[in-house]
């Protein structure tokens, strides 16, 4: 790069900065549109991710309760437990004694305490709480496993996988909707930003026309706009990330406290990689919009 090109670059950068300054409002609108779309995307993605991770914990919680016949001795029960633990799908087996079972029920069903007391210790049977490996934690696998248990002599099985599956299907629907909506948002944003940048170009049209007439190359015309677009994208991304952080800190955590703590575990913020990706999307959006708007102008210029 020779000296003249360096000077040229300097002129171009000064024009870009001046244009940003002179069209502050329009640039803010463009950055704002980018920020808003990234914010929407971010909220959606982080909601999905969090729901997914909640469902994961639920899935981990999916277990099969296998009730022992009351006639079996403690010894027999424990050996059956070991047998099941040896099965390939099994992740964990917990032996729930009659006392444990009573505790569990008492906690969950208000008012049953006294009833149970009257009934005595034998009222509830002992059971095995079996947790399966993650990849076995899907409805069909669980059903297969349950069949094996039945073959081993357990007549009473308890596994409530249905609701989680239903919710999982709902999540998948949300995910598909998200891809669709995300795409729509990005297209709408590109359109809006392109048109906003087009207004900047329109405002400077007269100047650009004259620059062309006194010998400006096409690069001299469009580079400032491209730079402007990148700045818009950058500012928009940072704004969106700040917004996401604020939302996370206030709404999400409050929601968690108010309603979801027991079922939700902890709500996570997007990680660095995801934030970086979001910024790249924002910057590309700004760049693309500037490119479309400025080259559209070039085709019309005298």
């Amino acid at each position: 790069m020779n000296n003249s090109n360096l000077d040229l670059l300097q002129h171009i950068m000064r024009r870009a900065l001046r244009s940003i300054w002179e069209n502050l409002y329009l640039n803010a609108v463009a950055a704002g549109v980018i920020a808003a779309s990234l914010l929407l995307l971010g909220v959606y993605v982080s909601t999905l991710l969090n729901l997914n991770s909640i469902v994961d914990t639920w899935n981990k919680d999916t277990h099969i309760s296998a009730y022992f016949d009351t006639e079996l001795s403690e010894q027999e029960k424990l050996s059956m437990r070991d047998q099941i633990f040896a099965m390939p799908q099994t992740e964990e087996v917990r032996y729930v004694s009659q006392a444990d079972a009573r505790n569990w029920l008492t906690k969950r069903v208000e008012g049953i305490e006294d009833t149970l007391e009257e009934l005595g210790d034998d009222a509830l049977p002992a059971s095995l709480e079996i947790t399966l490996h993650q990849n076995s934690s899907i409805a069909s696998e669980i059903e297969k496993f349950a069949q094996e248990l039945r073959d081993q002599g357990f007549n009473e099985l308890d596994y409530g996988v249905e609701w989680v599956e239903k919710f999982n299907a709902f999540l998948q629907l949300l995910q598909m909707l998200g891809v669709l909506l995300g795409g729509l948002i990005l297209i709408a944003a590109t359109f809006l930003v392109t048109n906003t940048v087009h207004l900047v170009v329109y405002n400077r049209r007269h100047e650009m026309d004259i620059a062309k007439l006194v010998g400006a190359s096409n690069l001299f015309i469009i580079l400032p706009f491209l730079f402007e677009g990148v700045v818009q994208g950058l500012v928009g991304s940072l704004t969106a990330i700040t917004g996401l952080w604020v939302i996370h800190q206030t709404l999400a955590i409050r929601l968690q406290e108010a309603l979801l703590l027991e079922i939700a575990g902890e709500l996570h913020f997007l990680n660095t990689q995801q934030l970086l990706l979001l910024s790249i999307v924002g910057i590309s959006l700004g760049f693309l919009a500037a490119f479309i708007a400025s080259t559209r102008f070039l085709r019309q210029a005298p």
Binding site: N3, S4, N5, L6, D7, L8, Q10, H11, E22, H206, E207, D209, I210, A211, K212, L213, V214, G215, A216, S217, N218, F220, L298, R299, A301, P302
Partner: protein, 217 residues
Amino acid sequence: MIRLYNVSKNYGSIYALRDINLRVSKGEFCYITGPSGAGKTTLLKLLYGAIRPSEGKLLVGTHDVSKMKGKTLHLLRRNIGIVFQDFKLIPRRTVADNIGLALEVLGVPRNVIRKRVSAVLSIVGLQGREDVYPQFLSGGEQQRVAVARAIINDPSILLADEPTGNLDGVMAMEVMEILQAINLRGTTVLVATHDAALMQRFPYRKLCFRNARLESS
């Protein structure tokens, strides 16, 4: 330097120029004259590539302008200084920025630009007006800024469209002397004008247009 072969330019049924054959040599000084609407501005626009001929061939220097694409047009224009009939100054740029633009696009360093700008401003009698905005100048002052911008990069061709239309007699003579001086340094100069007094006082070759045709040359 400039050659036109059977050049016509029409807008629908309206002919702005019809079947023009013309040759202007390097270093020549020419008037383009004729009544309002005769096609003077159209000829100049063809020469700097703002419009393309409907028919015919058009050579400016080594460039075949009738075939030039938008991507290479700036190479042609960097050798041409233009004084537009409507000045074409950028309202939100100071006089210095307006004039300097012609050097900025070439990548001339800022300090060099600043010096050259104040030099040409004093040539056209507007020394010290660098930081004024065009809308705060009188018509004649704007016209002289346009002249200053056209001559700042020592073009090999100078096209001036009615460069004295807003100037009083004395000032018009001064601008003509500027153009003459530039011509003497080797620049080909074409001046579109109505001003008979001027053409009498500075006698050069006249290209007379009438009804889109070149009547005499």
